[in-house]
């Protein structure tokens, strides 16, 4: 059993590394709009990855935009009020701050479940929205622009800027994918479905469910903060809509589309979402939401466990004999 697990893991690492190198190498040859689209999609995928962590425990936050906006505004404010331009020096404070906010809000949120959890997280994000809208120094309803960053004191120009940012987002995506995959194999990470199944059993085995959920909230919040920071650099603008509940809803939408089954699905799902959205917006500017709604409906009807379950289904079809051997064992 362990060997099978290990070889499965090796395959995933290989496929992931291959996809990473392919994307990084192909980027200069691809049209700029696809690169920009992938940049924002992968930045948002980090938020989705955090939602997947919570989703597995049965928690659906409708306020994840709180941490997304916190990360984005941290970067924007740093470029506006300080001389800091280096990407890592911009993103690190964004990650720390959103993680800290997640820790503090988590003190309360970790005690709630189901709809109460969803509504409380939504309420918290709307508090930030209210603050951002009303505060003149934070740009009020218009928000403000984000200045172009430098990469270890190298400042790219023109199309180089798009590419550099894409590579940066890709690097963060790869890092997050590896870290979250490892986390899912850890004791705390594997105890997601058990939280959904029986909290009583977990408590009587000697682990605090609330602390477990608190940890998941901090990880998800930090990921959302990094996602928001990268999104701010990509859009080169921040505004209060980044903390609005429809933004949170968008992340939940992509999470349903991707499913909680796989880490890779978060990235594929996020990319498809952005792609469908921009194509739909191009074709029917007035009614593009209908296309997205239909896409979600079709996903729920035919792939109730998301795109991730499609990968699993393909794997199963490609080698049915191993599955039979497994169930016979």
């Amino acid at each position: 059993m362990r060997n099978r697990e290990r070889s499965k893991m090796h395959w995933r690492i290989l496929i992931g590394a291959f996809a990473f190198i392919l994307l990084a190498a192909a980027a200069p040859a691809l049209p700029a709009w696809i690169v920009s689209l992938a940049t924002i999609a992968f930045a948002n995928a980090l938020v989705v990855l955090g939602l997947v962590i919570l989703w597995r425990t049965g928690l659906v936050p409708f306020g994840q935009a709180l941490f997304y906006a916190a990360g984005a505004y941290t970067v924007a404010l740093l470029t506006r009020y300080t001389g800091i331009r280096d990407v890592l020096l911009l993103i690190a404070p964004a990650a720390v701050l959103s993680g800290l906010i997640a820790f503090l809000t988590g003190l309360l949120l970790a005690r709630y479940r189901e709809i109460f959890f969803a509504m409380l997280s939504l309420a918290m994000s709307m508090i930030l929205y209210g603050v951002l809208v009303k505060t003149e120094t934070l740009g009020s309803t218009d928000g403000f622009n984000v200045e172009a960053p430098t990469y270890f004191s190298y400042a790219p120009h023109g199309s180089g800027r798009t590419l550099a940012l894409f590579w940066l987002v890709l690097a963060f995506s790869a890092l997050a994918a590896v870290v979250v995959s490892l986390y899912f194999r850890s004791v705390a990470g594997a105890l997601a479905v058990p939280v959904r199944d029986s909290e009583i059993r977990l408590e009587f085995l000697g682990i605090s469910v609330n602390r477990l959920i608190h940890l998941k909230l901090v990880i998800a919040g930090t990921l959302a903060g990094i996602g928001g920071a990268l999104a701010a650099l990509s859009i080169e603008h921040v505004d209060p809509n980044m903390s609005y509940w429809t933004t949170s809803g968008g992340f939940v939408f992509v999470t349903i589309l991707a499913g909680a089954g796989s880490v890779a699905a978060a990235f594929v799902g996020s990319f498809l979402f952005e792609l469908v959205r921009s194509i739909a917006y191009d074709i029917m500017p007035g009614t593009w939401q209908m296309v997205l709604g239909a896409a979600l409906l079709i996903t729920i009807l035919f792939l109730p466990e998301g795109l991730g379950s499609l990968f699993a289904r393909l794997r199963r079809q490609s080698k049915p004999e191993t599955i039979r051997a497994r169930s016979a064992a």
Binding site: P194, D197, R201, E203, L212
Partner: protein
């Protein structure tokens, strides 16, 4: 005495759920707990395992006062429990259930450490393997727990409770919901496993045949307190116990009563 309870009392408003309980259990004893519904058996179990905070009195485990501590702390000290309705993880397979239980029981340090320790380490898997063998549920290893027959669910629940090698185990109605003809088979497996793991056992039970066969000592609960405490045969033949709890027709069971 591995467990000593003094003047234990639990009240909910004006309702007295448990009162004046004074018992002491030596290590490795097997105690049956009997009593009608509402007599205070489960309240007693819940207080010892930290699910309920006693209103009065104290609970000493290995000489240490554990009164009112949270259940997960008491579990980590060495008192574990199973449930009347099996508390397992239905979405996981049997083996994954045991692995999860073992990993939680074996972990040290806080939540952060739990995020940095791999679940399926070699030692966890080896320990889970031996637990699956010990409880004879190997043939269900890869089945999802949701699809298990009732008896196997109960065994899995108990196997998970034993994962942390507790010194005291409380079983809340281990044979409830099990077909009559399967009860003895299940108890044989459980008791053999617990004896091998050298666990002191207290089990709540309504079936007097089971009590007589597996318990070395019986606590009879009535109206929130222990009205009789003694060897099973003697206690169950007591006319007052028959009148209040077990009913008059005591069937003297198969040979080997008292030893499983």
């Amino acid at each position: 005495m591995i467990l000593a309870v003094r003047d234990l009392e639990k009240t909910f408003g004006s309702l007295v759920a448990a009162r004046n309980i004074n018992v002491a259990v030596p290590a490795l004893q097997i105690v049956g707990i009997i009593g009608a519904n509402g007599a205070g058996k489960t309240t007693f179990v819940n207080m010892i395992t930290g699910h309920l905070r006693p209103s009065r009195g104290s609970i000493l485990f290995e000489g240490r006062d554990i009164t009112g501590r949270p259940s997960r702390e008491i579990t980590r000290l060495g008192i574990s429990r199973s449930f009347q309705v099996a508390q397992i993880f239905p979405s996981l397979t049997v083996f994954e259930n045991i692995c999860a239980a073992t990993a939680i029981a074996r972990r040290s340090g806080g939540i952060l450490k739990a995020a940095l320790t791999a679940l399926h380490s070699a030692s966890i898997i080896a320990e889970a393997e031996s637990a699956v063998e010990l409880f004879g549920i190997g043939r269900y290893r890869h089945e999802r727990a949701a699809t298990l027959p009732q008896g196997v669910r109960k065994l899995l629940d108990i196997a998970m409770a034993v994962a942390g090698t507790p010194r005291v185990l409380l079983l809340d109605e281990p044979t409830s919901g099990i077909a009559v003809e399967e009860k003895f088979g299940l108890m044989d497996v459980v008791m053999a496993a617990l004896r091998e793991r050298r666990v002191t056992v207290m089990f709540v039970e309504h079936d007097m045949e089971i009590v007589e066969r597996y318990a070395e000592r019986v606590f009879a609960f009535y109206d929130g307190t222990v009205i009789a405490d003694g060897p099973p045969r003697e206690t169950l033949e007591n006319p007052r116990i028959q009148e209040l709890i077990s009913g008059p027709k005591l069937k003297v069971s198969a040979p080997g009563a008292g030893h499983a």
